[in-house]
Amino acid sequence: MDRNTKPTISESYTAEKFEDELLLYSKTDEQALYLNNTAQAVLQLCGDDLTVAQIIDYLQQHYPDQREEIDQEVIEVLSTLESNGVITFEYE
């Protein structure tokens, strides 16, 4: 994954919030996706016009004791979101 690209959230998904969990549902292809806390944080940052590297950097600053895990986890979450059509990547 190119860390200088910016993810954009697809408008085809609607969200249903359950306390600290989130469920996404796509009306166009009837897909549902369950998001845990980490995935929700990543998805929220996808709406802030940040690159992949900036998202990782932001989360690492907030959770400095989990720097190593965050790098890998963010990439995994972004891959899942992209493969389910929740986000697309803009190439500058």
Partner: protein, 280 residues
């Protein structure tokens, strides 16, 4: 009763059905399948089928107008096709509720739904629960309304024939009341539990069953989000999921206890469902 043609008229929701049967055997089969359907819906033009038994070693056939849906000698195969036809039209005509692949049973004020696709063990678990004091509603399809009430499609229970070997299902004296094929069978639910009153209860518990041969039993409580996610996998009419919206399903699961159950032996299952505190 004379051996003459009879028409079985029934219906579910806004859909009516009329099955023209050419003799008593044909009528008995139709009655076996739709005995617990609510009845005719007057304002709706019915879907019509012809069920025909002919010959001394009867060849049986099912027709929709001039289209032959089945021809052969196995009542089970015809029954599956006819039931699937009827279920399809029930689902297609429904606009007001979520259609879900799920078994359903009740006990006291509690209603357990058992959602899952074919092969997950929901019919078998439903049958076991019915044989152990729960009242049958359905083993296959429910309509879940906005207020959380369940309208079940009550039909004969469909099981793998191998389950007839289970000691809890002692059906040896009732072979004339069961329809069988090589690997499957349909049994009237009253053979397992005589108690039955048609009901549309409020769902209180959601259990997602998963039969895995040889597996150690696990019962895991699910968060509402995970439960809603799994419930959406059991949805059988995406049009209504879009129309009625996920919030209706979400609100229902928020008001229920949800579990994921992996099982292989009914001795283990008994410790859960027959425990006095499970439905509290």
């Amino acid at each position: 009763m004379s051996n003459q043609s009879q028409s079985l008229k029934t219906g579910f929701g806004s859909q009516s059905f009329e099955i023209e049967c050419n003799n008593n055997d044909a009528y008995r089969l139709a009655e076996f399948l739709f005995f617990d359907f609510p009845g005719v819906v007057a304002e709706q033009e019915p879907k019509r089928y012809d069920l025909i038994y002919s010959g001394s070693r009867p060849m049986i056939s099912l027709w929709e107008d001039d289209k032959r849906l089945y021809f052969g000698q196995n009542p089970y195969h015809l029954a599956v096709i006819l039931m699937n036809e009827v279920l399809y039209h029930c689902i297609d005509a429904n606009r007001e509720s979520h259609a879900l692949h799920a078994g359903a049973v009740i006990r006291g004020n509690s209603c357990i739904i058992l959602p899952g696709q074919s092969g997950m063990g929901k019919s078998t678990l439903t049958a076991w629960l019915v044989a152990h004091g729960y009242q049958y509603l359905t083993d296959e399809l429910i309509f879940l309304a906005e207020d959380g009430t369940v309208t079940p499609v009550t039909r004969p229970i469909s099981l793998k024939s191998s389950f007839n070997q289970n000691s809890w299902m002692n059906l040896h004296d009732y072979h004339d009341q069961i329809i069988v094929s090589e690997n499957e069978m349909m049994i009237p639910h009253r053979l397992l539990n005589q108690t039955f009153t048609p009901q549309e209860p409020l769902v209180t518990h959601i259990v997602f069953p998963h039969y895995v041969e040889g597996a150690t039993m696990t019962l895991q409580q699910l968060s509402p989000a995970k439960s809603c996610f799994l419930l959406m996998q059991s949805h059988v009419n995406a049009r209504n999921l879009e129309g009625l919206g996920v919030p209706v399903l979400a609100e229902t699961v928020r008001n229920c206890h949800s579990y994921s159950l992996t099982y292989s032996r009914f001795e283990d299952v008994e410790s859960i469902f027959c425990a006095s505190n499970f439905l509290n």
